[in-house]
Symmetry: C2
Subunit: 255 residues, 2 copies
């Protein structure tokens, strides 16, 4: 019996943004919509948002099986202090349908799965188990923000979240600025939306005036925008309070 | 008069791969196809491949103006030794239609524009000129390779091409491996396809046995694949000669 494959199904970027849910065809290729519609086994960052996604798919392309009958299992999260190796059984369980011949979809709450979410370990387990992994094209807030920034797209890094503690965050910002200057490498970071303003204030306080800073807010949604200018220009035009506190943003700097 | 906008139009990933040109709907959202069909001003990495792209769009969505009547201008490349600042007039010329109220499309030979291509400077010029920049969802070989690798997607860097000189390349590989180990950061790189095999040999010779190496070849095309395993496992199963020499590949390592 041949094995099923693990399809990496991109999700939209409008999760949790009030009134932003548009037509899936704005951000997903038709083939991805068709692939999602025929899958019935899912490994999901969040089961509830996966069901909401499948309802949007169903409106365009009838699902092979009704949403309520789909096999949707959430990715496990390792209890604190537990090694990743202890999780092997959990990943195996998620891959069981693939080993039994069924295609499985991996989906996160927003954007490409296995990037800035816990899905990468399932992908690694798939490779180890001989299950073919099939990536699909879709929206990536990180790369859309990078493209829209006008900063260096030949060398860039995504560093995730910065520390919440103010002193540690300032130290990290200066470390990233120095690294960016040394390697001419754009540094991308994200923050939970309600702290967007605080991160902007910290960046404007810690970065050098000539460092370039780009912010993309609400990528792919109608109210979205990207602004890219020097820190000196940001300081003249903006204060952190002006960043929306309920819309995801991507921050990029180049020193 | 209101200004036009700069649309970042993603291209397919099948450029130059014999027999791989599929349906645009496999990798591009319907809205992107519709946006491309209504644009008539283009800033392009390559005019010829842009015309080929527009013909594929036209087959799905009639163009607002025939391909031969579209205003397609290639991105300038700075002559050696000339500073980027000398290029300002060239970027201004490409943005002139936007300043006159027309939307302009930026497109590269493959994937998202302004990433791993010269388009970022036009995006920066657009921001400076007050032209709104609109990114669109589409295929990114770098992020699809990262997602399919199962390596760390919470922290990663794209470092472009490695040096061609063997000693310099080995030194750079070891530098990237040390950096990856220190920061638990996945390092992504690309190579011109005819050197894919040479790069794999260099990686297998220079990296430590336990370092994980993932290769994605022909992303989004039917013959595409991703293999991800330790260097020790690669050494047992592969030699560089087995990598196709005419299909783009993305290499990712995590030490």
């Amino acid at each position: 019996m041949s094995r099923g494959r693990l399809h990496l199904i991109p999700n939209t970027l409008d999760f949790g943004i009030e009134g932003a849910a548009g037509d899936l065809r704005e951000v997903l290729p038709q083939q991805v919509i068709e692939t999602a519609a025929r899958l019935t086994y899912w490994a999901a960052e969040n089961a509830k948002t996966t069901r909401a996604f499948l309802k949007r798919v169903d409106a365009l392309q009838p699902l092979a099986r009704p949403v309520q009958e789909q096999d949707i299992r959430e990715l496990p999260r390792a209890p604190k202090g537990k090694a990743d190796t202890d999780m092997a059984a959990a990943w195996q369980a998620l891959l069981a349908p693939a080993l039994a011949g069924h295609d499985v979809g991996l989906i996160s709450e927003a954007g490409l799965p296995a990037i800035a979410d816990p899905g990468a370990q399932l992908v690694a387990a798939a490779h180890a188990a001989g299950v073919e992994v099939v990536p699909h094209a879709g929206p990536s807030s990180l790369l859309m923000a990078l493209a829209a920034s006008g900063l260096n797209g030949q060398s860039f890094a995504f560093v995730g979240y910065l520390p919440v503690d103010a002193a540690a965050r300032t130290a990290r910002i200066r470390e990233l600025e120095a690294l960016s200057a040394r390697q001419q490498q754009t540094q991308l970071m994200i923050e939970t939306p309600y702290r967007n303003g605080a991160l902007l204030q910290a960046l404007l306080a810690a970065l050098k005036p000539q460092t370039r800073l780009s912010i993309s807010c609400g990528l792919s949604v109608p109210q979205g925008w990207t602004r890219s200018m020097s820190v000196a220009q940001w300081r003249k035009k903006e204060n952190g309070a002006s960043l929306p506190d309920k819309i995801p943003a991507v921050f990029a700097l180049l020193a």
